[in-house]
């Protein structure tokens, strides 16, 4: 259960996961709660506050949040063996646990390691009602009175963003964006956001350029719910102005094949975030066997084991150094890329994700450390 059928990472994963689970013979149903515009404004504030941003949330807004959840409880026909609730929007549904029994799990996709205390305190009584909580990265959890499980997100290898592409398709995308293939290509795919440090990426690229001739592609979109993104894009364009080897591409959010092609055409893929949730763009690049240089933040260290499945960096100079290493040692870069692909194959594909969910459903209610099925 979540709050939307379309848009956002949760809906994207569920839209691919639910049919697969049903194929396995599980009577899985995806239920979406109904909410008003005002309700979603409040939950957006919750989202930001849980990420650590200070938000001004009024008492009326908290009451609205509870009221909409209560209405949903009345309208929904809740009947299942396991209730799997995603994110804070439908969190109040757990109040039905006393009446219905069964297993209740809260799947938190947000980094709640340093939340706004007021919002956290408001949600905590609901959270501890659940049998267990599920987080995407170890850093996202915090001490709780209930069991907590670690389940990383995943990518679907058959989606447009990750499936194999023909060389012709890749070439046509490069041609469309006017990117020649004459030099090694370094790419970062991410929203134009200060936290993705696109200016830092350009600075690192300029350091690399001193010794190795290459191109930089910064591809991403601007989000309507992020007023800063346009400003960041303008700054990046200004910083890149006059350098023909830097390609700043503002592309629509559903340009999956284009992103796939840009990643596959790259010599090195970057993810120089200052702060990150899980960073599935890293898994996407690793799945394409690309050598990755990424910041050691959020869920990235789970995907990039330094010097084994990619290179971790902590600053602009370190990023430039890592890129140079990969550009001048193609064998090493290939070895890292192949390791990265295997790492994703075993740990970050949707099949592993489903397996983890199933096992967690079995583990809840069984306190043993070794469960014999």
């Amino acid at each position: 259960m979540n709050s939307t059928f379309v848009g956002g990472g949760v809906a994207e994963i569920l839209s691919r996961m639910v049919p697969l689970v049903q194929e396995m013979g599980v009577d899985a149903r995806w239920i979406v709660i109904k909410g008003t515009q005002e309700f979603f404004q409040v939950t957006k504030k919750f989202h930001n506050a849980l990420h650590g941003r200070q938000e001004d949330i009024t008492k009326d807004e908290l009451e609205l949040f509870l009221e909409i959840n209560r209405k949903n409880i009345e309208e929904l026909n809740l009947d299942a063996d396991v209730f799997f609730i995603h994110d804070p929007q439908p969190i109040v549904l757990v109040t039905q646990k006393k009446k219905l029994g069964r297993k209740w799990l809260w799947r938190c996709h947000i980094d709640v390691s340093r939340p706004d205390q007021r919002v956290w305190d408001f949600l905590l009584p609901f959270i501890v009602e659940y049998d267990a909580a599920v987080f995407s990265a170890p850093a996202f959890s915090r001490p709780l009175a209930i069991r907590q499980f670690l389940i990383s997100p995943s990518i679907d290898p058959l989606s447009d963003k990750n499936r194999d592409l023909t060389p012709e398709t890749i070439d046509s995308v490069l041609t469309m964006f006017g990117i020649p293939k004459d030099k090694p290509i370094i790419t970062q795919v991410s929203r134009f956001d200060y936290l993705k440090d696109p200016v830092g990426v350009i600075q690192a690229f300029e350091l690399v350029k001193r010794s190795v001739d290459c191109r930089l592609v910064l591809a991403g979109g601007t989000a309507t719910d992020d007023p800063e993104s346009g400003k960041v894009l303008a700054e990046v364009q200004e910083r890149a102005y006059g350098n023909p080897d830097i390609h700043v591409l503002s592309i629509p959010p559903d340009s999956n094949i284009e992103i796939n092609a840009l990643q596959r055409a790259s010599t090195v893929v970057l993810q120089k975030s200052l702060k990150e949730g899980f960073g599935l763009t890293v898994s996407e690049a690793l799945w394409k066997a690309k050598p990755v240089v990424a910041s050691a933040v959020g869920g990235i260290p789970l995907q990039v084991r330094d010097k084994l499945t990619g290179l971790l960096s902590h600053g602009i100079e370190g990023t430039a150094y890592a890129i140079r290493q990969l550009l001048t040692n193609p064998e090493y870069a290939r070895w890292l890329g192949e390791n990265g692909r295997e790492h994703v194959r075993y740990n970050f594909l949707i099949t592993r994700h489903i397996k983890d969910y199933m096992l967690t459903f079995l583990a809840v209610g069984r306190p043993e450390e070794i469960v014999y099925l």
Binding site: A139, L308, H343, V371
Partner: protein, 474 residues
């Protein structure tokens, strides 16, 4: 009173004489039959011929018909039955004679097939099929001969037989090659029920049934492959023969999946790491000293345990990191002692420094816990050959469970393979050899290869010993 002498002349020549001839001939032929069987029995006894019983059984009933037919024929010859009747009656008698002779021949051949086929070890169902083919052929020839006796047109019957044959061949066009191959397979005796075989196409297992059309092979995962006989004949088969030793108890392979539980606890420096680790349950120690093995099993050089990796990558203490990475987990009989050793190393390091370097935000050490879900697989081994086959096919999770988890986490002190080899197979040397392997120095695939190599060597040695013993006995 009426007597024979008083009967009219017509009655004597019409009934009495043929009746007397019939009875006399019947007595004479039955006497000859008895003499013949006695003579055959004596000759068989003196010459050691074993076919006498078969011959007697095959001709016992038909020979009664022969006696009656001869007697009836002679009686008919001396009777005053009109000539117009004699022809059809003679043809009928001839037909019955032909049928009885063919029946006797058919019985004879069928009995010989069963007798000799059983001695060759051909399955009973296969012999039944062969007997039915013989019966069909004999019946066809019998019908044709009777048709010939009655002077009926031969061609339509022959055509009918040909049509039936063609339809039969068409219907059985897929089956016939298998049946013929099956006859070839069983007559050579190269493969027998109980043998462990491997086909070039990869199927491997114990032969549990052989029929003319197919052979059934049971693999280590208990799946049964049904191989058509024509494929068996065409394929290169390695026959390892029946197993030398069978296990007292079969080895049932299990596998293990993991759920990772978060403790919510994190350490920002070495002191916190040591303090939290000291109080952590075994499942936490197990997770951080073993998870990397599974998570990165595809790497040739697997990374160090989580504590060592964090101390080097985040705290930048290469010396302590090296010491923690070098801890030989294989030396520890349980997780408690391993935890003590790790904490001891950290505390030694802390004695020369204050808390040590602080980890940057988001790079704390987060304590995680391993919850193992153990479930059965379909693989079972009842002998070394099946054990080897299963080793090749089981998942990495199953291998990991029986080698790593069984020894340290379940506290058995020995891996499951060694325990089974020693206790159920009596393979003490092989069990010791496997127990001596330090699994932490291999990748999981490397470990699998090594185990396969050890078991293969053992099977090879045992085959050589068996061959030498057979040669010595010969």
């Amino acid at each position: 009173m009426n007597t024979v002498a008083n009967l009219p002349q017509g009655a004597t020549s019409g009934i009495i004489i043929p009746l007397v001839v019939f009875v006399a001939t019947l007595i004479a032929t039955f006497w000859l039959r008895t003499i013949g069987y006695s003579y055959a029995a004596r000759w068989a006894k003196s010459s050691g011929w074993s076919g006498e019983q078969t011959l007697r059984a095959a001709t016992r009933v038909p020979s009664i018909f022969w006696c009656i037919i001869v007697s009836a024929y002679l009686a008919l010859t001396v009777s005053t039955v009109p000539a117009a009747w004699k022809g059809p009656i003679n043809l009928t008698l001839g037909s019955v004679l032909v049928v009885s002779i063919f029946m006797a021949a058919m019985n004879m051949v069928v009995r010989l097939i069963y007798q000799h086929g059983s001695r060759l070890g051909i399955p009973r169902r296969a012999l039944g099929t062969a007997a039915n083919i013989v019966r069909a052929v004999v019946i066809v020839f019998m019908v044709l001969t009777v048709v010939e006796i009655w002077g009926l047109p031969f061609a339509p019957v022959l055509l009918l037989v040909v049509v039936v044959l063609l339809v039969g061949i068409l219907l059985l066009r897929d089956v016939l090659p298998d049946v013929l191959s099956g006859l070839q397979l069983t007559s050579t005796g190269n493969v027998k029920v109980g043998d462990h075989i491997r086909l070039e196409s990869g199927e491997e297992g114990e032969v549990i049934e052989m029929q003319l059309r197919y052979t059934r092979i049971r693999g280590a995962d208990q799946s049964v492959a049904i191989i058509p006989s024509s494929r068996m004949v065409r394929s290169t088969i390695i026959n390892y023969g029946p197993p030398v030793t069978r296990a007292r108890e079969p080895f049932r392979f299990e596998t293990r999946l993991q759920v990772t539980e978060l403790t919510g606890l994190g350490a920002r420096n070495l002191k916190e790491l040591a303090e939290i680790l000291k109080k952590s349950p075994d499942s936490v120690v197990y997770y951080h000293t073993h998870n990397f093995l599974l998570e990165h099993h595809f790497l040739f050089h697997e990374p160090a345990n989580d504590f060592a990796a964090w101390v080097v990558d985040v705290l930048g203490d290469a010396v302590l990191g090296e010491r923690l990475a070098a801890v030989d987990i294989f030396e520890f009989p349980n997780l408690g002692q391993l935890r003590e050793r790790l904490v001891e190393m950290m505390e030694e390091c802390l004695s020369t420094q204050e808390n040590g370097r602080q980890a940057p935000p988001d790079r704390e050490f987060y304590f995680l816990k391993s919850v193992s879900m153990v479930l059965p697989t379909s693989y079972t081994a009842r002998n070394l050959r099946e054990f080897l086959e299963a080793l090749r096919k089981i998942s990495i999770g199953s291998l990991y469970f029986h080698v790593f988890e069984a020894r340290l986490r379940l506290g058995k002190g020995l891996n499951d393979f060694s325990t089974w080899l020693k206790d159920s197979m009596g393979e003490e040397e092989l069990a010791r050899k496997i127990a001596r392997i330090d699994p932490y120095t291999y990748s999981l695939e490397g470990l699998r290869s090594l185990l396969i190599q050890f078991v293969e060597q053992r099977i090879e040695r045992s085959s050589q010993t068996t061959s030498q013993l057979s040669a010595g006995a010969g």
